[in-house]
């Protein structure tokens, strides 16, 4: 027996899988903002007990992706415009720190990694709108990851997730269009060690994202059926 080898997917805890399934469902907008999340039906649909679902919900609540009202159940968060501004303000500060930390310390390999990611963004731009938003967000997460500052990474990840939710609520239908070029400029500035320029670019980029969170384009789906997809992929 080799205990380090994870022959079974259940090596990672079930509540983790449920957490990820729900998170992805929310970020993919398969679960619309404001949608109710009854513990029973989710557990039934995903084949786990309510305890597991509860844990996942508590975690999501901590990250601001769902709202957890006592005795009244959980639902996907509906950030107000005010909340949205708060989130982008904090992103502004944190992602400037990311750039400030990264400047002058990136290897050519890391630069290439960033460029490859933007390439993928570009590819997805035309085809899949949902994955395009997803990839645009992941670019920011990737930058944060390169700082090797876990605290910073956690906060940026959280805020990027919530930003996705905000975009789905208030954003224009085809919002991530121009993000790609902005990401490319940022990489260029990082590559040439232009601190001030890179910071300014990031500031403007976040400003641009914030501005794009303006017009509304909503879409409705029925809740429980869509979960099947995510359940399968998380091994549930």
């Amino acid at each position: 027996m080799v205990p380090t080898l994870r022959n079974k997917k259940s090596a990672i805890s079930k509540s983790d899988a449920v957490y990820r399934a729900l998170k992805r469902a929310i970020l993919d907008q398969a679960l619309a903002a404001g949608a109710k999340l009854p513990e029973d039906s989710i557990g039934e649909r995903l084949g786990v007990s309510r305890t597991i679902v509860r844990q996942a919900l508590a975690r999501l609540s901590g990250e601001g992706l769902i709202e957890l009202r006592p005795h009244k159940g959980a639902c996907v968060a509906q950030p107000s415009l005010e909340e949205a501004h708060h989130i982008f303000a904090v992103r502004q500060a944190l992602e400037t720190l990311v750039i400030d930390t990264l400047i002058g310390k990136l290897t050519q390999q890391q630069i290439r990694q960033l460029e490859a990611h933007v390439e993928a963004e570009d590819m997805a731009r035309a085809s899949n709108a949902s994955s395009s938003i997803q990839l645009a967000g992941e670019f920011h997460v990737l930058l944060a990851k390169l700082t090797e500052n876990d605290v910073l990474l956690r906060y940026v990840t959280e805020l990027v997730s919530r930003s996705s939710l905000i975009l789905s609520l208030y954003g224009r239908p085809h919002s991530p269009d121009c993000a790609v070029s902005e990401h490319r400029e940022l990489i260029a500035a990082l590559d040439s060690n232009e601190r001030e320029k890179a910071c300014a670019l990031m500031r403007h980029h976040i400003d641009a994202i914030t501005t794009r969170a303006l017009l509304k384009g909503s879409s409705e789906n029925d809740l429980p059926d869509v979960l099947a997809t995510y359940a399968r992929e998380e091994g549930l």
Copy 2:
């Protein structure tokens, strides 16, 4: 019947109470860094089931105050020096944002509120070392609260908590001595709307705090008995 009136403390959920009891116990250094936190004994000591304790532990883990190793139990976090630097770097960025948000928007009443708090810090300085550290941290939380940015408030609160833990691990015995005067200068700059000066002061202040996290002064206590105090105050 007046349902809005909370005659009983149990209006707030049990796991909340346990969470707060444990958090305070950790921040007061009643539970030393690295101390084991078995679900059973805590639950027994506090008169609640393991499930409740589990929820509280999960939440504390999410905030970085405890470490939650799968199948190996929970213990009070022992942030490494590297982690400490990460935390203070993020604090730097976020608390600069706090100042930037607050500048020019504070009422005289709020200024007085801040001054009153520093007064309390000054009073506690000589008498109680533990509550002195606590109050110094709460000053930063108070500032964040005044921004009315909930996201910012949550992160600052979290980081201040973790900073307390770091100070208890690596800090000098009598570290918060000079903090009071630095807080006063900060208030003065805020009062006179000097944006650049206030931001610089905050930067230097966090730098100073970071520097003070250097020498070590540890203390040991036995774990379960101290919980009684916190249990009582949280209504357990």
